[in-house]
Subunit: 319 residues, 2 copies
């Protein structure tokens, strides 16, 4: 059985035909800036895949998309794709490849699922895995008891918007001190620049940290602290055994994972959270595509199909 996997990021759209062993049979990628429009980019990559794997050999479609999502309606509004606002992506893909189930989840949710299926937790011994993407934002996704957990509205795992510093900066979400205000690439870069570092982006900041630049090292230490707090919270709440971190900032390697491991070790006090293992993505940029394929391949399960939002509660005490 083969499926079509689609990964919608902030700057590019990738697609692949993937078989049930996780082998990528064909792969194509289009930069959004080069495609003219996101609709054209989507059509282009699907046509490129179908030119190599015939449509009648693809039994389903899985899509991982940058959010926000409205999974019940199959709609996406990726922050960095302004042309798509409440865009009915599932319907659009179904029109290009009719009569197949099309499943949608968040990009970080697909990354988690991909890592669980074919990557860092390949042995399947990690029953409860949190995947985190640290990039221009900070996202995440769950695999619980070996099943993707997307949440009732499809938004579970959004670790970038938990507060780790109540006295911290205002976040784009309106709250204060969210992980994303400290550990995203733009937040780290802005923090370092306010303190006199002159580089332009998170990649330069990682190089500077690797060379020992004190402001850059401090920026990564601060991001590691915020991520450690969030990860330990997740571990305590969900009895977690594996965290896999991907995304551009995570590609910095030891300047992030060194202080992160130390911060987690310093504060990891409960017996049941001590088994927690944290590491970088092992699938790189393919994690999201393979997770989207896993989403399409998974047996139909209530946990895989988010429920529509419920009507207001008719009874009971509420605040």
């Amino acid at each position: 059985m083969n499926v079509l996997a689609i990964d919608i990021g902030g700057t590019k759209i990738a697609a692949a035909a993937v078989n049930s062993d996780g082998r990528i049979l064909a792969r194509h990628e289009v930069l959004l800036a080069a495609a003219g429009s996101p609709d054209r980019a989507l059509t282009t990559i699907i046509e490129a895949i179908l030119a190599r794997v015939p449509a009648d050999e693809l039994q389903g479609v899985g899509i991982g998309s940058a959010g926000p999502l409205d999974v019940a309606r199959g709609a996406v509004s990726p922050i960095n794709i302004p042309a798509w606002r409440d865009h009915l992506l599932v319907d659009a893909v179904a029109a290009l490849l009719p009569d197949r189930p099309v499943r949608l989840a968040g990009d970080a949710q697909c990354m988690a699922l991909g890592e669980w299926w074919r990557g860092a937790a390949l042995d399947r011994r990690s029953e409860t895995l949190l995947g985190i993407v640290v990039s221009t934002g900070v996202g995440g996704g769950w695999v619980l008891d070996g099943v993707p957990y997307l949440g009732c509205t499809g938004n579970a795992g959004h670790i970038g918007h938990i507060a780790v510093d109540l006295d911290g900066d205002r976040c784009s979400c309106g709250s204060f001190g969210c992980v994303e205000t400290i550990a995203s690439g733009p937040s780290m870069t802005a923090w370092a620049r306010r303190r006199g570092w002159n580089g332009s982006d998170a990649r330069a900041l990682a190089l500077a940290a690797a060379e020992g630049h004190p402001i850059a090292v401090a920026a990564f230490g601060r991001a590691a602290d915020a991520l450690a707090t969030a990860i330990l919270t997740a571990a305590v709440l969900m009895d977690l055994d594996r965290v896999v971190i991907g995304g551009g900032v995570a590609a910095a390697g030891s300047v992030l994972f060194g202080p992160l491991g130390q911060a987690v070790a310093d504060r990891n006090c409960l017996p049941y959270t001590r088994r927690l293992r944290i590491g970088p993505t092992t699938l790189g940029r393919d994690a999201g595509l393979l997770g989207a394929a896993a989403l399409a391949l998974a047996p139909s399960s209530p946990a895989l199909v988010p429920h529509p939002p419920h009507p207001p509660h008719p009874q009971g005490a509420s605040l």
Copy 2:
């Protein structure tokens, strides 16, 4: 179908025969201090139930116990029952009522399950519910997509040990600024007494807060802030739609729920978490017993039977 439900608390053991509609057919409770030993208390309550509902009418057993637990081995070490350390409770109960499945979960996990089954979320529209017990400690439990989620080692939901104030007091767990260091009854009482309030316990503190004593009001406001942070974190991570709070401190009512509702409303910024409803337990002291019954009655499910801890990961990058 009827089952035996057992609720092991810090100061008492309760048991009930419960039918599949959630009706309590017989109920008995023993104060640990009066029983001589916890083993004697357990035998006494089970015999008291069996005197009213014959053993051959009970098809299974569910136990909710104060922790820590080792669910894979069926062992409990309740902090306030020093005679039971790594006590093989499941085996002990199975010896008293042989040839029936015996299931064990945390007391707060059972409270959550009871509220979902017969209480605050009775209409079952709350697919994802967090139950919180605020008492001498702060515990919790999950129902996710309509299924109890206990975690791999049976410890999921332990919301009292997530950090909400990194500059906060050292917690009994060894970490700093855990919810329990701020919002448990003893923590609130100690905080108020250090500031000149003269009462002795959380019940007196609640009465003082209701009468407008400024230190008592501040203690509840501080606890509400900590709980609000923890609840919003849970809501963001798990796409949560319902929180039910029980336990002695929650019995304080509006002096807790007033500032809690305000603190949550002030910081609840993501569209998908705005549907969150928070309220007090509606089953009171029966929530744990009914949850233990639900645990016994639930169809066998991987999510209900925690997996044993895994051996160390044989491959892959770890910190």
